[in-house]
Amino acid sequence: MRRRNFLATALAAAPAASLLSGCGDDGDDGTLDYLSLAWQKESMEANKALVAEWNKRNPQRPVRYVQGSWDSVHDQLLTSFEGGEAPDVIHDEANDLTDFAHGGYLADLGELLPDGLRNQIPERTWDMVRFGGGTYGVPFLQEPRVLVANRRLLDDSGVRVPDTEDPWTWDEFEAAARKLSGKGSYGVAWSMKEPVNQSVNLSLTTGGAVFYREDGKDVVRFDRRDSYVAELIHRQVNRERTAPRGSLGMSGSDTLPGFFSGQYAMVPLNFSYRQQVEQQAPDGFEWTALPMPAGDLGPGSGPTQGMSPQTLSIAQDTKRKEDAMAFIAFLTQPDHMARLAAGDWIVPTGRKALRDPALNTRKHDWRTGIGMSEDLRASPVLGVRGYAEWKDKIATPAFQEYYSGSIGLDDLRGKLVEDGNRILARYQR
């Protein structure tokens, strides 16, 4: 009997599911969907507050906040682009836009951009979102790589503390790491779970690029200036032992417990990691964010590093491109851009936003990031077709093997250049 009741309940519940057919899409209700990848509490609050403010001011062209995730945004967008159901306004990063732009999924913003917005962002930053003659995103947030250092260990060691005006050279950094090492602790912990972007972007400090344009085509080279920083990291891990081998498989977050315990004196991290450092640091722990070292290999080298800015784009299929652009212009007004940057703990791209008093403070070393913004350039990987495949199939395992000492520089070069160029050539036929 009880069994019958159980089965009867199951059978009776089934028709309820059919009622769900009423839960379908309402179709185009005139609302713009804004896919945001903000994930930190303050950042989400800032985004939602700005969307609410926009909706209050523009009730005739409302925007719906849609939460996305950095982890899955590429697959989500690819599927929805193919299906013609993409969000209207898309938060992403420049690195991810290349294939979408080439695929015709993103609107060219060239004609839509208002002059005010166009003029407030430096030309070198706009270059990061231009592919094949079009402009496919508004670069609004950027993030340098910094050295987050244990303040007490730094002071005790007596090494010169660098700032953006006078950063360390790579040689000085290497010497400082030696001084900060000893008794089971390491001067620096390189988190190389994803080694490619940082290896390529830091090669700019020594005048390298890894990716070059030759005869109108992208090619990989890995000569002295390209490999200088990679060789230094390899040396620190495998010869000088000033960097632990164990951290090579870690993400930035994974290195923090060792950093807080004094095991690692410095950890190279993206600027936004300061939020996690501040949140997780034990009481009384003092930390500071230092600029990454600058290259001193002559002309072309210096504090410049590559990066891929966060962007706001418009889907090609969107019917109301002007409204979408107006919303993007609203989000990127100087004070709004500064709010979004503060919420994400990263640096805005706009000239006026960079001068916002809330960001020009010594607290949490905001000034380090602001000071480095002048030296940020387009990551050499931007706009390179086939980069994702090169990164996943060739470069990631090759760099990991090299840093851990399993292969030498010649082997690394062979894989990156010979195998890599074969992949790139396939995309450029």
Binding site: R3, E194, F260, A281, D283
Partner: protein, 279 residues
């Protein structure tokens, strides 16, 4: 001697079982431990099982930051409906495939097996387009249909085994007593399939509850999203994560599956021990 060796053997069995249980429980217990820890405790190289200063802050933050209640209800609705429909479709289908042996049923069985071999990345874009044509994008009903179709082959395979175990002589006896085919299925076979139904229900429910990618691409509106999608909103770029609230939300997300299993496992065991079917 034999008594001693039996005791040792039994002790060894229990020890192995204990180790296995500890292995299974470890991730869940560690998740629970993290969920109650303050951020400072998460950044230590000397982690402890018990939080030094247990706090509910992570749960509070998780609820503040993301619509956990709404997404849990969505997941419950979608997973329960998908599980029930899967079983309702699979029972008569499995019965027909087992009892009506023909070239068609053999081909159908083979095709069901083949359909399990398609990776979802292969089908997602065509599926998206099909659902779009039926205006089922951003629809929980569309997602339920997808889960039913996705679960059905395995549900069918599971139930076929249970149907095959029911002796045909029981059905023949019922037929002699004047039962029609549907009556035989519902009054004779179905009660004997309870363990199979429960196992299939649990499998379908847990699969739908945990599924992420279909839910991610098919549901646009925040108010319709399921819990597996909402959990990723605690993740940042390049491995960064809001670990405390993520652990709190992930722990909450495991509770319905545990409850579902706790409620149904008695039926699973009871059904198996009923002994109605003797070879």
């Amino acid at each position: 001697m034999s008594s001693l060796s039996r005791t040792c053997g039994r002790a060894g069995q229990y020890l192995a079982l204990l180790c296995y249980l500890a292995f299974l429980a470890f991730p869940l217990l560690w998740l629970l431990s993290i969920a109650f820890k303050a951020p400072q405790e998460l950044g230590t190289t000397d982690p402890t099982w018990l939080p030094r200063h247990p706090s509910l802050d992570n749960f509070r933050d998780a609820f503040d930051q993301q619509p956990l209640w709404g997404s849990a209800l969505n997941s419950l609705l979608v997973a329960t409906s998908a599980a029930l429909i899967s079983v309702l479709v699979a029972v008569p289908a499995a019965y027909a495939l087992v009892r009506y042996r023909s070239a068609v049923s053999k081909a159908a069985t083979g095709w069901i097996l083949v359909s399990q071999m398609f990776p979802f990345v292969l089908v997602i874009i065509p599926l998206f387009l099909v659902l779009k044509n039926f205006q089922l994008i951003n629809s929980q009903f569309g997602l339920i249909l997808v889960y039913v179709v996705w679960n059905l082959p395995f549900a069918l395979w599971m139930l076929q085994g249970y149907v095959r175990a029911v002796p045909a002589s029981l059905e023949e006896a019922a037929a002699i007593d004047g039962c029609s085919r549907p009556r035989i299925l519902f009054s004779v076979v179905l009660p004997l399939l309870t363990p199979g139904l429960v196992a299939t229900l649990m499998f379908s429910f847990v699969t739908a509850w945990n599924e992420f990618f279909f839910a991610l691409v098919l549901l646009k509106s925040p108010e319709k999203q399921t819990m597996s999608v909402i959990l990723t909103h605690f993740l940042g770029a390049e491995g960064a994560a809001d670990l405390g609230p993520l652990a709190a939300a992930a722990f909450l997300a495991t509770i319905p599956s545990l409850l579902f299993f706790a409620l149904l496992q008695r039926r699973l065991v009871n059904g198996m021990m009923n002994g109605a079917v003797k070879g």
